[in-house]
Symmetry: C2
């Protein structure tokens, strides 16, 4: 096997070359990289000085690391000397500047680099540049090698492993980038001590730090990543690159087998979280548009195909990517897609995170299928949101019960340099920003990250009988989010005539030892069509509360309970081409409010999004909610069907044995769903009985 | 020429058949119609009773008229007897029911039909059914013919021409549907008196009513239609169908030559209003998604190609359609598209409407090109908005300065039966809903449609030097929208380094004989990035005013003038992947407010949209605004460039000779634009001089 650079063989390059100018995913990426490199050739080498986050300088340094990698890679794929020369010139230009460059000023808790204000970016820079350099090195003269290695790479390695040694062993996504950058660069320049330090950590024991410790500890045995999919996709990128480098150059480590094949589990766990359109649910700090087409996921998915196999659900996610890794495993992705079925059903998934867990209920096929996420696990460290038992729901091509995501415009310089905004703590992380029940108008764990990191929810039941009777369900609980309050949530996806998409039945039991304020909250997009049974709009919009995110909410209006107890509410909204009706039956009398996000936001850092809250004051309450999607509206063609819900109303009774009976009344018949929280087996905990009426 | 039905020959059918199962636009439509007819075959004939607007019954009747036409047409195209039989069965089922069916209850100012609550729908029904019947008639026995013609068509014709004779001559889009339906049905069943009445009107003179009078009077000599593009596309549908029927069956009328080829002018005028993505600007009552893919526009565009020619800009709009008319002219469309260039530049256009006019400035190529609309013409009858000198702007694939459109969800039954909502009068039509200057917080013409219909603005200058020096401009005025106030607007699109998309320079001169309140208003979508120079957010949102649409606006916050006089304001927002910065320089000291639509809306009939208003109290004022688009943001890939504007600030001075000098200050240089409202020729009225700084 004749290597060309760290991760490619000469044979690989030939096979990759065959995809040039073809419409395969690999061909598309080759075209894009060629265009990028050609544009850079036309513009010439630009190595600017130091700049602010999001500035021209910052952006150009980031692009240059990519450019070194891509120019070198396309130089080898296309046998183009000019491309290789561009990569060399860039490396030499950085080597000439780097030594004398002062450290940047730190802008957050990260230590500063020289090119960037946080060392993380410098790690990423080195990783890309080292991969590019690996493709040039054999052709370079000693003088060039010395200038690049001692002028650029060695000082960086020294900074990362000595100056910032205290940070090198941190089990964290930043730590993973650090060890991957150091390890890969060490392999490329043949400096074994850096490679060993990267693999085994500062202490050399493989447990307290280094890549092996990261694999063992950063992901749960199921592959779950505590910070959420947005950071998971960021972590799998160095994970897979360094793993592949070690598989080729330190094969005795058997890296892909490590910890019961933890790397493969982690890739599958990440892909399983993705919505049908390929975007990731915005769990914890996350953008609402990040998805499987991210570069890190391209690499991870290709590695999975190359090293673990081409499961249909993995290949289905590849179909949501617009390109792939330029590598022999990317070639595998392109090949797998050629033979893949147009659509396949994706299994539901439950991830244990070591203590709590995260459930993904899935029904249907194709991009318009249904995906419910219920989180009841670990908090997510500094990026965690206070959203135990939070829920989000995607169906018919859109997120119907929405996550707000983070409050940040990444790399948008006038928005606080693209960093996290104050409203991220003020609103986005707070419990009230999520789809759940807030107790006493306060966030879970008092909004204290350290406390929250020590606690977790539990998934108590998880069943997937979609193929049998159209029913999938998950039951989760937390008893430590609020002192002396137990919250239990039962979520059921039910495909049931006469409803076309599945009903989402969402039952929340709140049980306190004293009287509390319980706020059932959900978030949605689109236009309210009607509150059934009346609505009082406020003329002026007042702020709802004073803290824990409530200070950022305006009250648009309210609907009093339609009856006594149980009290009911119903509202239909239109989002895109589909209507959704929310039906609620609350054991205690509830007031429903329509809210708007955006109060106390002088810097316009919040999006004006809509939400509904129903409020109850009592010791215990049972909120039974049914979200029914129905009908179709196409504004451009002015066609509309079934703008009214099929479900007429919802009843709830509690049997003496604490069973919850939810009756769904349709025009022609009714259907009773019995939830038995005491049932010992998962399968008994929900049952269904229909009746003509 | 052997006809098959009213509008097709046997040869046509053969040529159309060749497109089946091909990806041409005609092939796509054939596939869709086949699927529609096959689905109806599987479901069987359903002829329901009477229902509410938007109900199942209402929708089914509408679909059945289409189905009669499409089943008959596809029966002939595909030589499928079963399809023809389906069309026959439907016609016979309606013929059996129609006679005894009572009249519906009227729901608006339209007289009621039997199948539908407004006669307009019944006209549309007859037109489709008669076209379908024309394809069956030769094969039917005398008994079937008699049942259909005397049981269904004759009663309808009698209702339209006798019962509602008083409505038949109305020069209006409804009148056009009436004469087209009656004339086409008359031709199909060979009843000359109906055909003559449809062509020449009740009086038979060809002037006071009928199709010829509609052609002469409904559209201006330039083809402009006063109700706006949304209703224009609705009016061209019967216009073109009946014209084509007459061209084939009453060739001596030379219908396509009538009134200096008025039909062709009208089609071109409609197509010229369309934005680069094919949607129509929402001028007057209109949805924001209606576009050239509407069925009426498909027919009109095909007729243009068949009868008037395949101008590049007409073919370019065909490329925004997803299908075409199943007719030999649709075959022409498919053929024209095969040879068409991927992109072409579309000329700017000015339409005189008989008194005022409407300007469409266009720059660039492709779907991301730029299109500015300035309206200064007739009011638009009952569908008119009080928006003299109103402006809308599309660029980079989106409307950047937005029209609100109508307040209506067509066919969404729970929204007042899909009809116009009270907030259409309350907000959408009012001046403050548009992009213009409102005087004394009141709508133009006091919000009185009859008064407005008697007035109009004027386009005073119109120049398109885009190919010469990157400058297009229009100047418009009104002196009757408000008593003793003259408003003049100069809009300039200027492609100018270092800005990538053209700058929109918008100068409004307000001149009153006494002190007035002048509110400069614009509407936008997306997220405010920053108000440059500070902003005071309100904690509670109060309503801005009490009437003329102001009662539906909340004040989110305000920015005091950044300097004395002239006072300046600047705000950057992000919409999709692009930033826009609004720079304003006001001669008199102004306060800027950010507003939110949605106050006093208990039924949720308004969309929560954003707007900005700057307010001045003075006798006269000059508002100079520059809208600068800049940068690029891709949230999913987290890349951002040029989030800050290139333009540093804007100055304005008035020379003794009343010339307006607007100076644009960039980092490296400045550019002075001189507007001379007194200049006699269009070309002198704007000039440009740059200076390094």
């Amino acid at each position: 096997m004749q290597m060309t650079g760290l991760l490619w063989t000469q044979d690989d390059m030939a096979r990759i070359r065959d995809h040039a100018d073809t419409p395969s995913q690999l061909g598309v990426t080759l075209g894009e990289l060629t265009a990028e490199v050609e544009a850079a050739m036309a513009a010439g080498v630009v190595v600017p000085g130091q700049g602010e986050p999001g500035s021209f300088e910052h952006n150009t340094h980031k692009q240059n690391a990519k450019l070194i990698e891509h120019a070198a890679l396309m130089g080898r794929v296309a046998n183009n000397r000019a491309y290789l020369e561009l990569a060399r010139e860039l490396l030499l230009a950085y080597a000439a500047e780097y030594g004398d460059m002062p450290y940047q000023v730190a802008r957050n808790t990260n230590p500063p680099g020289k090119l960037f204000h946080q060392i993380l970016n410098e790690h990423m820079w080195l990783l890309g540049a080292a991969l590019g350099y690996s493709l040039l090195r054999e052709d370079l003269g000693d003088d060039d090698r010395a200038r690049i290695e001692s002028g650029l790479f060695e000082p960086m390695l020294d900074m990362f492993t000595v100056t910032y040694a205290h940070d090198f062993d941190r089990i964290h996504n930043h730590g993973l980038w650090a060890v991957a950058a150091v390890g890969i660069c060490g392999l490329v320049i043949g400096q074994t001590r850096y490679v060993d330090q990267a693999i085994f950590g500062n202490a050399g024991d493989g447990h307290t730090g280094g890549f092996l410790a990261q694999i063992d500890n950063l992901f749960s045995p199921d592959g779950y990543y505590v910070e959420g999919p947005y950071y998971h996709r960021f972590a799998v990128h160095p994970l897979c690159l360094f793993a592949e480098a070690l598989a080729l150059h330190r094969p005795k480590l058997n890296i892909y087998e490590r910890s019961s094949r933890r790397i493969g589990r982690s890739i599958r766990a990440l892909l399983a979280t993705a919505y049908p359109d390929g975007t990731f649910p915005a769990l914890n700090d996350a953008s609402r548009t990040m998805g499987v087409d991210d570069e890190g996921v391209r690499v991870a998915l290709a590695v999975h195909l190359g090293r673990y196999g081409a499961e249909p659900e993995v290949v289905a996610m590849a179909a949501r990517q617009n390109g792939t890794w330029v590598h022999r495993f990317g070639e595998r992705v392109a090949a797998a897609l050629e033979g893949a079925p147009a659509s396949c059903s994706i299994p539901s998934a439950l991830f244990a995170d070591g203590s709590g867990g995260q459930a993904h209920l899935k029904q249907g096929e194709g991009a318009r299928r249904h995906h419910l996420v219920v989180a009841a696990g670990q908090h997510g460290m500094g990026h965690g949101h206070f959203d135990q038992l939070g829920l989000s729901f995607f169906s018919g091509g859109r997120e119907r019960l929405t996550e707000y995501g983070f409050c940040r415009w990444v790399n948008v310089e006038p928005k606080f340099g693209g960093r996290y905004l104050a409203e991220n703590e003020g609103y986005a992380k707070q419990s009230v920003a999520h789809n759940l029940v807030v107790v006493d108008q306060a966030s879970q764990h008092r909004g204290d990250h350290q406390l929250a990191d020590r606690c977790h929810g539990r998934i108590e039941r998880f069943i997937d009988r979609y193929e049998v009777d159209g029913l999938s369900a998950v039951s989760a609980m937390t008893d430590d989010a609020y002192p002396e309050v137990e919250l239990r949530r039962h979520c059921i996806l039910l495909t049931l005539e006469p409803c076309a998409p599945p009903l989402l039945i969402d039952v929340v039991e709140a049980r306190g030892s004293a009287r509390h304020c319980y706020d059932y909250v959900f978030n949605f997009s689109g236009q309210v069509i009607r509150w059934w049974g009346g609505f009082s709009a406020r003329e002026s919009l007042e702020v709802l509360g004073e803290a824990h995110g409530y200070q950022h909410l305006w009250v648009v209006g309210e609907q009093q309970a339609l009856a006594g107890e149980p009290s009911t509410h119903a509202m239909t909204w239109l989002d895109g081409d589909r209507f959704t009706t929310w039906h609620q039956c609350s054991e205690q009398s509830a007031v429903a409010m329509q809210l708007l996000v955006g109060a106390n936001d002088p810097e316009h850092n919040l999006r004006h999004e809509k939400k509904v809250m129903t409020r109850v004051h009592s010791e215990t309450n049972l909120f039974v909610n049914v979200f029914e999607q129905h009908g179709h509206f196409d504004e451009a063609s002015e066609t509309c069907l079934n703008a009214r819900p099929e479900l007429r109303h919802v009843d709830v009774t509690r049997s003496p044995a604490a069973k919850i009976e939810v009756t769904l009344h349709f025009a022609q018949r009714s259907e009773t769903l019995t939830i038995d929280p005491e049932a010992l087996s998962g399968d008994d905990f929900v049952s269904l009985a229909g009746r003509e009426s």
